[in-house]
Each structure stands twice: as C-alpha cells, then as structure tokens.
C-alpha cells in the first residue's frame, strides 16, 4: 500500500490551451464570465452586508436603508464589538494556536509510522483512526463532558485543547501519512543501511521534507478549531468561552444592536479569513484530504 489515499491535489490551472480547435466561442466566453460573476456576487453578499452594516451608526441601520452605503467610516461598532468579544478572541487564539501545533506534531509522528514503519495490524489501526473523523460528536458528548468534568473541573482552555488534539488525530494522521507516502521507500531504506534509526530518519529525512505538510495541517487545524462550536459550548464556562460561543450569545441577545453584531461576526471571521487569503493553497489541500481522494 504505497499509494496515498489522496494524490496531492493540484487545482492550479493547467496552462495548456486546448489544441486543435480555434477559439471561436467568444459569446460563450462572455456568458460564462457573466454567470461566474453573478455567483461571485452571491458569494460575497454576506460579507458585504456585514461590512456595510458594521460601518454604519445605529441610527442609520433602519431596516429600509439596509442596502445603502455607509456615509463614512464609522468604527465605533467595531470598537464596541471588540470590547464585547476581545477576551473571547484572545481565548480562541490561546486555544487554536497550541492545539494546532500539538496536533501537527502528533499527526506527523503517526503519519511517519503508518507509512514508513508499518507493522502487522497498522492498516487496521489507521482505518480505526479514520472512522473517528466522521463520527457525530453527539455520540460521545455525554461521556466526554463527564470525563472532562472529572479531570478538568474548572472547564478551562487546556481541557478544550486536549479534546481538539484528540479528535484531530484522524485528519492530521491522514494528511501526514499521505504526505510521507510520497517519499520513496528507497530513501528511507538507504538511510537505514547507513545506520540511521527510527528517530534519526524522522529528524533528518521525514521532518525536513514535510514542512509543507506542516503548513497544511497547522492551517487546517487552526481554522477548524477556531471555528468550532459544540465542544466549546459544552466544555467551557463564560470566562473561557472562545469567540464562536460568545458571538452566538451576542447575536441571540435582543439588547445588542444589529450593527455591533455584524461587526462582531466580521471580527470573529477575520483571523481565519486572513489565513485563507495569505495561505489559501495549503488550506485547499487540507480540505481535499477530508474527501479521502480527490
């Protein structure tokens, strides 16, 4: 089993023009472009609404004028949202960064073993790991809450980090296993003949080769943990709430104005959006790994 479950997906455009046929379908091209542009408007609409609503003073957020442009850059909503969600944004950061880092290290070790040091039963173990990726967490939620209340009664961030690291094992192991599967067996074998052991090969061959794999896993885990809601709401108390829980609460309250809610939603989305914009191609690879094969 040397072929990875997912061949590295490249959606990057293939810059080969169709051979033979003259490109006569000019009108077709325009239609295609217009349809795509219409979809682009649909996809950007919610962000546009959050932005223009967030930038308006409350007096201007009358229902009827929702789609009008804000008169200027009115940033007080963002200040209010930051005051309300600031501690939770910090909690999310303290949660997502360490959890993503630990996940990556664990996943890389697992992936290294399951692709280069396979032993009897290791494929079965890998399959058993993978199933953990798909389970509805409601099916483990009651024991999880009971267990975490016993070992971490304060309900703080460290407990939530542990939970995210554990349930992150399947996807991080999968991504790294696929990654290491592309390293030729001969490279590992010749290092072995040269006297390198398990850790030597990991440190000097696997680890340096898998830096892009780390980028994929770090980004994937950071995004998912930042965006996660269910574990956060059952395992944390208000003072350790990540931003998703706090935002849901803010949006559910009748007291907080719409424009502050929109500014808050935008703030909550900003870190993962920035990561996506800057490192999108790594994000895409993580996404595709979940489909097992592209």
């Amino acid at each position: 089993m040397t072929v990875p479950l997912t061949p590295p997906v490249t959606v990057a455009s293939r810059r080969v023009l169709p051979v033979g046929r003259p490109r006569r379908l000019r009108a077709g091209g325009v239609v295609r472009f217009l349809v795509l542009a219409a979809f682009a408007v649909f996809f950007l609409l919610p962000v546009w609404v959050m932005l223009i609503t967030g930038l308006k003073p409350f007096a201007d957020v009358s229902l009827a004028r929702m789609w009008e442009l804000p008169a200027g850059f009115y940033l007080e909503n963002f200040q209010a949202a930051l005051a309300a969600l600031g501690p939770n944004l910090a909690n999310s950061m303290l949660l997502a960064v360490p959890a993503a880092a630990i996940s990556s290290l664990l996943g890389s070790m697992n992936g290294y073993i399951l692709s280069k040091w396979r032993f009897r039963g290791s494929d079965l173990i890998f399959t058993a790991f993978l199933f953990g990726m798909f389970i509805p967490y409601q099916s483990v939620l009651i024991p999880l809450v009971q267990f975490m209340n016993t070992i971490n009664p304060a309900g703080g961030i460290p407990g939530l980090i542990l939970v995210h690291v554990v349930y992150g094992i399947p996807i991080t192991t999968l991504i790294f296993r696929n990654y290491y599967a592309t390293v030729p067996g001969e490279v590992v074998e010749s290092a072995r003949i040269d006297g390198a052991g398990f850790f030597g090969i990991y440190r000097h061959i696997a680890l340096p080769l898998s830096l892009p794999g780390f980028a994929v896993v770090l980004i994937w885990q950071f995004t998912n943990i930042w965006n996660e809601f269910l574990f956060a709401i059952v395992l944390t108390r208000p003072d350790s709430w990540p931003v998703t829980v706090a935002l849901n609460n803010l949006a559910g309250s009748q007291i907080v104005e719409w424009n502050v809610q929109m500014a808050g939603a935008l703030l909550a989305a900003l870190p993962t959006l920035v990561v996506y914009i800057v490192l999108g191609r790594f994000f895409l690879r993580g996404l595709m790994a979940g489909a097992l094969k592209g």
């Binding site: 089993m1 072929v3 479950l5 169709p18 033979g20 091209g29 295609r32 472009f33 795509l36 979809f39 996809f43 950007l44 919610p46 962000v47 609404v49 229902l63 009827a64 929702m66 664990l106 070790m109 697992n110 073993i113 040091w117 032993f119 494929d123 058993a128 199933f131 798909f134 389970i135 509805p136 409601q138 099916s139 483990v140 939620l141 009651i142 024991p143 999880l144 939970v163 554990v166 094992i169 052991g197 398990f198 850790f199 809601f229 269910l230 059952v234 849901n248 719409w258 809610q261 939603a265 935008l266 909550a268 989305a269 996506y276 914009i277 994000f283 996404l287 595709m288 097992l292 592209g294």
Partner: protein
Amino acid sequence: MSRLRAARRHWVPVAMLTPSILLIAIFVYGFIGWSLRVSTSEWQGLRPDYTWAGLDNFVQLLSDRRFHIDMRNTLVFTTFFVTGAVAVGMLLAILLDRHVRGEGIFRSIFLFPLAVSLIVTGVAWRWLMNPGSGQRQTGLNLLFDIFGLDALQSAWHTTDPPWGIAFVALPAVWQMSGFTMALFLGGLRAIPEELKEAARVDGASELQVYRRVILPLLRPALLSALIILGHLSLKVFDLIVALSGKDIRLDVPAIYMWTTTFDANNFNRGAAIGIYLLLSVAILVVPYLVWSLRRETEL
C-alpha cells in the same frame, strides 16, 4: 542485523504510536461504548443512574413527535443541501475548467466561505433571510423589492414546516459549494485532453462530450462529494443554532440531543439520539472507508 536491533525496529514505532492509539480507543470507541450504556439506562436528572432500561429509550424515540419532526427536517435539509451544493459546485467547476479570465480570483471567492465559522454564517444569513415584509421588510426581501422582484420575497426559514428547513440549505450551499467545486475541478483537470479531443474528432458535440465522456469520469469525485456532504448534513448543528436559536420548527437530531441532555437532563434519551446519529453516519461512511482502503490496496 542482530536480533536485538530487529526487535527494536518494531518496538519503537509501536511505542510511539501507542499514545494516539490509547487516546482514540478511549475518546472515540470507549466513549461510544459509554454512550451506549447511558442510552440503555434510566439516567434522567443530574445524578448518573445506570439502572438497565434495555432499548426503551430507542423505542420511545421512534414514537416521539419531536424526533419525527427532526427526521423529516433532516431529510428535507439533506435533499436540498446535497442537491444544491453538488449542482452549484458542478456548474462552477465546468465553467471554470474552460480557462476563464480571472479564474484564480473566482476560485478564491467561491472557496472563502469554507474558512468561515458556521456561527458567523448563521449570524450573517439571519440578517439576510429576515422574513419581514411591507414596512418591516429588510435583507434579501428588501433587495428583491428594490429590483422589482417582489415575487421572490419569502418567509425564508420561517416558512411553515416542512419547507422552512429547506431555506437553511441556502446558507449551507453558500458555505459548501466551494468544496464540491474544488473536488469536481480536480476531477475535470485530471481528464486527459486527448480523450475529449478523440470524442470531438469522432463527431461528438460539446454537450455529448460532457454527457458521454466527462461526467462518467467524475463519478469518483461525485461519490466523495455525496459522502462528505451527506454526513455533514446528518450532523448539522451550529448553522441552525446560529440562524434560529432553538426554534422547534427547525429542530434536528443534533439539536434535540443537545437540549434534551443539557437543558432537560434527559441523559438517557440524549445518548440514544447520539447513537441513532452515529448509526446513520456509519451506514454512509463505513462502506466508503472500506471501499477507499480496498481500492488503495488494488492500485
């Protein structure tokens, strides 16, 4: 190689994998077993009560009105969400495959919702799908009014059951069709140009090339999309919570499990719903996992 070293070769990797094996064994399989135990118990209230109740909780749910609503909602949501996300993703992939100007920008725009939390999506779409009409109209209804498309105005997710939940599929499609687009685009780009060219040389029209050559080759990507979207759809939770709070008309098993367990302390019923959810996902995913691994061994 000495026997000692040979033994060491197998011993170290197993030892290094052991922590993960233990964690998965406890947190996934152990906890599922524990949930099963709770689901067959009398536990209602804050104090655990493991008195054996057999399958009572599972049987009761089958005649529970709220659970019926949940199953119907899941069915309607799944139908609209999976169909919508596959159709939109397929259309976008086909359009993008033909090397359109600005392809990179379009791709980025279609994919960015995947990086956004479902809670954020729910909050934004709650504003867009505001059901108000007349003087109180806003959101998309107001936008339709501005463009003279009043006929498109809707009560959205507050439409009478069972169709309200169908509108929840709209933000879900918004969020996930970038994923199906990427899957299909990957599939399309893997089809050799010669294959399409050969069909064209044989006199196939562009439409026939798609129907006879391209779409059949996309079947593996379609299968992946159906499994991933299907299991997400069975588990849908965050989006509905953020969109409508705990509106019973949009109730789904994942929300029922959450409220009956943590608001009403019906731990045994909550666990039974969790197990039902697990079974529904397992029916979908286990054959797929087995198929994926077997195919891999064949290659």
